[in-house]
Symmetry: C2
Subunit: 478 residues, 2 copies
């Protein structure tokens, strides 16, 4: 059977989660490998998801006053070197342009790994007075980091993202913007991608090169590994001082600006796969799915079937549903399997018997539930089901995460949990880098974040036993 | 006067067109120079125009079945070299990446100047049967060409564009797609940008490196210089053969695919400036303007003025107009001049007297015409005027172009016209490269295109006097 074959063609996630992931990526035609080592092609089915992510996030950004810009993809080496921590963090993994045509460049240029330096260079020219503040900019672009090992969407040498960069007259305003954008990301992930997230702060060890504070949203994949899903950084006035971005304030004093940056990347497509996918392939949340409903005729050569499917297609389109009619000359079972592999949230089946009874069959992708519905109630039922599916997917992901979140009071418990039960481990921490390093070395787990939502799971550091300062989420991560 | 100062701050176009252009670009805050030689920053006012261009074109593309994708920005040198003409055309002007972090790359990578080679590399893997055809892909990205002399929007080392790439089972289908996309560009330029274009074919000398045929739309700037505004290339099966992109046809024969590509770039923002701008700054066509209407209160501290302007703002927003309320604490004259500099198509002025009379004043940016309108008719009048402005701008640009399009029968007339009357010169051509080269050397003019709309302006080649094959548009170009 074609249907069976297609499903069997992917490895089950229980057998080999990494292989299952790769199989879904390739079979759902989200992306593919290229002749360019470490770089991928994002194919139409994958790029359409990214377009929906962009459209939705961009609107959320603009509602908070963000303006889009575009800065060069090249950074002169001297500019990258102006902020010490930043260059140390990024220089080892940048790609260097050394020739333009046949001519060797006088100064080599790196392909941007991130653009703090370029934004500061711009602001240093355009900001003079408090009247010029704040600047709340964003750009959608690709960046390059020369990674040794790569995986589709999760880690590649070039990836797509947005990077927001803002400057403010006061430290308070910068901190407020940093948190505001983290919340935009968190709401977006939960409402659109149906991915629940933990909001919190990174430890000093895990923060962004050059930042005073990095905030993060962390999500949990189906295999119990964590994924950093969006970060927002407060730079204080460090970059501004290094680049001389100063303004004359109302009191006529020359002051440095306070800076933030925040970003989310195509790795979120990887998160969608690993949070919602199953052994039949991708499962897309309706709000982000490029195609929400697929209408599949059964025995489409029989009189009236294709016409009725066409009417359903028109009705759903009219109702604002992103719908596709699959009238290709393939067997229905094959089409069902393909629609499942591609993660289309809802399938409408209609054959001669359904037509005679004035009904169609709706099949949910997320739980395979079938509903028989009268044709004149179909559009309303479809809209209702899409809303239900979206809500159920978030709840299921939340339940999975909660069921895989543990608390550990002492080190033995901690190590046992990390090793035996993949997931988040909540544990107290003294605040020392040494304990983070030891935990990483012993278990491979890292501090994911110091959650805003603190909870006292003990009194002493799970590692050294000294008095604890904070509760931290720990886990192995992508 | 602040107003006068702002207007005086830009060079008049009659005095120095190039300086006028630069002044508009900078004063309207469309873009700015950077520390990266030959690269620019596109600032919010400029990027918002590009976003509108993208949104509109992307929709037009998708209506013809285009799917968006994203391919790597790097091309391995060996891949670039597979098609002989192509590498000769582009290798001299590419940027080369030679190091990844501290490691020298085994093979150097160029930053894409265009992506035909990468698309062929992708198709060579994904296309097997006639069922896999056609592929109709597009990507929005930036490309790099290491230009010696650069100008904002018109020529920079990195620029933004879209590049469409398609493959087809037959030569006829590829040719039809090439022409179809040229027409999409032409309609877009005329309907959205109010820029009339000449549609035609490039001569062999001017065609794209590796193409069988290049089609172009050519527009005329205010100073009488031409601008190539969009191109569409038919590659035949040349690239496909070089890259081994073959498919098994219905007749079970292995055949090469036929390929096209087509692109439009941020230089169209330069075209908008140079076709519509005047000595007060930018003039934006309403359909592409990020802000279509600016509401400016006069004596805004007087009772009721700001409230009434707020009501107008709400009404216009409700009516689907992209409107801005300028309630900043500046003098109205300064705000008027700024709105003019930024090219906002329509301005609404309202002061205490207007309020008392239940009216507002509408001022068109394109011709400064003032209309007094009753407040309860304002929204309807604004919508009507925006439509009128759009149509008038196209007509004015067309009239300017037609008034600067000449015909020359012999070489003396041709050279005189080119030298004295900036614009297009229509003249007959024998089809020889030698005549094109001589004309370029003698006058600096190039063949802009062999228009689809042929017209017999003589019998013999304007250069060599031999029997003519085609009528050609000639001109100096950006």
């Amino acid at each position: 059977m074609a249907e069976k074959k297609m499903v069997e063609a992917i490895t089950s996630m229980e057998e080999d989660f990494a292989q299952w992931y790769t199989d879904v990526v390739i079979k759902a035609e989200l992306c593919d490998y290229t002749s360019v080592k470490g770089c991928m092609v994002i194919k139409p089915a994958g790029y359409a998801i990214w377009e929906n992510i962009q459209k939705n996030l961009d609107q959320r950004f603009k509602e908070t006053g963000v303006e889009n810009v575009y800065l060069p993809m090249f950074i002169p080496e001297s500019l990258l070197q102006k902020e010490k921590d930043h260059v140390e963090g990024f220089a080892p993994e940048v790609a260097w342009v050394t020739y333009g045509g046949a001519d060797k460049l006088q100064e080599r240029l790196c392909v941007r790994p991130t653009s703090e330096t370029l934004f500061c260079d711009l602001w240093q020219r355009e900001v003079h007075s408090y009247r010029d503040l704040p600047k709340v900019y964003n750009q959608w672009c690709s960046v390059v980091r020369w990674e040794k090992t790569t995986r589709p969407f999760l880690r590649s040498r070039e990836f797509l993202w947005q990077e927001g960069h803002t400057i403010h007259a006061t430290a308070e305003e910068a901190e407020a913007r940093t948190i505001q954008m983290l919340n935009v990301y968190a709401d977006f992930c939960e409402q659109e991608l149906a991915i629940p997230v933990i909001r919190g702060q990174k430890t000093d060890k895990e923060k962004f090169a050059g930042a005073v504070a990095t905030y993060t949203i962390e999500s949990l994949m189906h295999d119990g590994q964590a994924l950093q899903s969006g970060t927002s950084h407060n730079f204080g006035s460090g970059f501004a001082s290094a680049f001389g971005v100063e303004f004359t304030d109302k009191d006529n004093q020359l002051k440095p600006v306070y800076e933030t940056s925040w970003g989310i990347t195509t790795r979120m497509i990887g998160a969608i796969i690993m949070v919602h996918g199953d052994n039949s392939g991708l499962v897309l949340p309706p709000r982000i799915a490029p195609v929400q409903v697929c209408v599949i005729p059964v025995q489409q050569h029989r009189e009236g079937v294709l016409e009725a499917c066409g009417t359903i297609f028109d009705e759903l389109k009219q109702a604002g549903v992103r719908v596709k009619l699959d009238d290709r000359d393939n067997r229905p079972g094959w089409k069902f399997a393909e629609a499942e592999m591609r993660g289309i949230p809802l399938r409408v089946e209609l054959g001669p018997k359904d037509l005679a009874n004035g009904q169609a069959v709706l099949v949910r992708r997320d739980n395979r539930e079938k509903t028989v519905v009268a044709l004149d109630e179909l559009a309303a039922k479809v809209r209702e089901l899409l809303t239900t599916i979206q809500a159920d997917m978030l709840e299921r992901a939340r339940a999975h995460r909660d069921a895989h979140t543990y608390a550990a009071k002492n080190y033995e418990e901690f190590v046992d949990t990390i090793n035996v039960k993949p997931g988040f481990v909540k544990a107290m921490w003294c605040g020392c880098r040494e304990c983070e390093d030891k935990i990483k070395e012993d278990t491979g787990a890292t501090s994911r974040c110091i959650p805003f939502d603190q909870e006292k799971v003990g009194d002493t550091c799970v590692c050294c036993g000294k008095p604890a300062k904070k509760m931290v989420y720990w886990g192995r991560a992508y």
